[in-house]
Symmetry: C2
Subunit: 434 residues, 2 copies
Amino acid sequence: MNKISIKDKSKMASQAAFKLSAIDIETRNRALQNIIKHLKENTEQLQKINQKDLEYAQNNHLALPLFKRLKLDDQKLNDAVDGIKQLIQLPDPVGVTQMATELDKGLELFRVTCPIGVIGVIFESRPDAFIQIASLCLKSGNAVLLKGGHEAQNTNQFLFQVFKEASEESGIPSGWIQILETRDDVDEMLKQRDDIDLIIPRGSNQFVQYIMDHTSIPVMGHSEGICHVYIDKDADLEKALRIAVDSKAQSVSVCNAAETFLLHRDLPVSFIKSLKEALKKVNISIRGDEQISKIISCDHATKEDWRTEYLDRIVSIKMVNNVDEAIWHINHYGSKHTDTIVTENNETAHKFLLEVDSAGVYQNASTRFADGYRYGFGAEVGISTGKLHARGPVGLEGLVTYKYKLIGHGQIVADYANGKAHFTHQSLNKNCPL
Amino acid sequence: MNKISIKDKSKMASQAAFKLSAIDIETRNRALQNIIKHLKENTEQLQKINQKDLEYAQNNHLALPLFKRLKLDDQKLNDAVDGIKQLIQLPDPVGVTQMATELDKGLELFRVTCPIGVIGVIFESRPDAFIQIASLCLKSGNAVLLKGGHEAQNTNQFLFQVFKEASEESGIPSGWIQILETRDDVDEMLKQRDDIDLIIPRGSNQFVQYIMDHTSIPVMGHSEGICHVYIDKDADLEKALRIAVDSKAQSVSVCNAAETFLLHRDLPVSFIKSLKEALKKVNISIRGDEQISKIISCDHATKEDWRTEYLDRIVSIKMVNNVDEAIWHINHYGSKHTDTIVTENNETAHKFLLEVDSAGVYQNASTRFADGYRYGFGAEVGISTGKLHARGPVGLEGLVTYKYKLIGHGQIVADYANGKAHFTHQSLNKNCPL
């Protein structure tokens, strides 16, 4: 059998996408339900195939954390199925009237949400990510091209068949889901500007940067997660300690973990010492600037540290003169992901939340809350540090766009240009009838 | 005086942008008011300087339409001032709470609109466009780099001084408005990814394409306007005639003018003949496909015609078998701008409005309605044919993005991970207090 070209797969996805945009929510939910059924019926075979990937990985000495991510055990499969069940419960993100305006009597304008179209997703070696991403795309009415980690290729190929068969059986247009196999396929996909509307890369910063530099298709992703905890002079010091430790240490290898603490110069020396003790207890080492180094013994931070996403048990600490300096530091060195201020002073918090230019700006809460599940979105397709379209954790809402629907009765512009007719521009309180 | 580099101008704009994001709407409106005052006080000088540009243009034999666009007469200046007055009346697009969720008691998440940051706008030779764009950016709290047509450079330089002085006098942070002078400046601007958040190019398709191909900064613009009128078998033929003629002929050199008519094969021959007559009356020539050519005498359309934005007194006409074929043609050859169906059959209209993948999808109305003023947005910064962030005519709402503000009381993720605390995920009916 000849391999289908990526250009053809993209065209097929694009053709399916405009049919899928007219499929009602009942059919989409029924298809998700049928996917759950097929997954359950095929669990044994799925895990047998996953075992093949695991054996290959073992023979090739895959690092233990990657190996663990690759394994699709009962727990992970159950969680993935629960994820689809939750998704079915969520309201339809498509067809929501966001705005309604009477332009004139009998000439009504509606802004209505619709699927984006065709989305290309490149993701890491977790096969459960395949299930989550494909389900999110189906629920939001988008066609999708999926490229998972090569370590999981047998598992992904099987999941692809399950999704394809179960969805088509339920009336979803054939072609809406496509699978890519090689790195060359990805490079080919990046060229399909006519058929693909959005690329979502998940993975290392270098990888996301590579994708952004090699396509003219819009890319939604996060370049880096350099998150900050700023502890203000008016902070509740107990909260500050808890939030700093949680933001840094609750999980260190994730994008919403803090990399830098900014401390107001008026904080008591005793607090800085307790912070060091607390961090020591959870095995976090400190790189401090000159002033911090005078108070506690620690490694010396260089300018490079302010730009570094450690994803490790290291935190950099800098002393700042005031909230303005903290804001400047974050906007200058940060990555527009998530930053928190610890303060009881709401005026200072107000300033911080307004002026820090990040997707998430918090008062008195850990940066680790920046996550689709914790935000209540059900699931997320990724976290965006770009500033347009969707910011922060991206759930179903980030997978739709809108179109303007204008419903008239033969109106023409000439009549408004020559004064025979006049715009009324009244806001309407109704949903689009079409 | 040394010329300030574009890199430095971008940095200055970026620094001003985060201060501007904290400036309240009263101050922004007061600044707009003060700009009106300065424009009125300086009208005489402004028109004297505009005369300089006009003389230069005359000596260089600028084409008459361009010459007319360049001229800033009393009428245009009054219209521009009226535009600012309307803008002042519009509600603040910044600080709008779009979503509020209780994650847990005392841990509240808000999605709040905020300015995009720094916007680079490249626009044609009309100096009134300078006034409109700069005012839209100021109202929405964005810093802006402006590059107008070189024919208008003296006028734009003077307008820049007026905007800068009047706004700073009213408390707007210095640096928020920057002016670019040469084509090289534009190329330099396209490289400032660290400081510029969005590029909006206005001008010819080739020009917009050039910008898209030469920057990794997000670009909002319209590549082309290949708009369609599909006349269904269930059309009211009188409406169809009016809409077809208006869409094509009310103004031919604009992006929302129709380029192709698609006619259902069951339409009576007499209708096609009347359409030809009606188009002849307004000097529109026809390029028809084989079937159309059998019915009326006309030029022959080739495949290239379906992809051509004439911006001229020409229309291509094709016969289609059904609405599906019309939809396919539009999605395949169109430019995702604006397309209309003429039909009395709401089921067919429903299908067309769902499946046509364009920013504007109309039933029984002229494509020429696709415009920020006609949509009731007050003013527009441009029309977007991209599918992400903003689609169609882009007014104030397209110039803002959002951030997530989380307000807590010391909550940490560890407590939720180990089961000590639980998410409530309740929707809240309140605005963000900070």
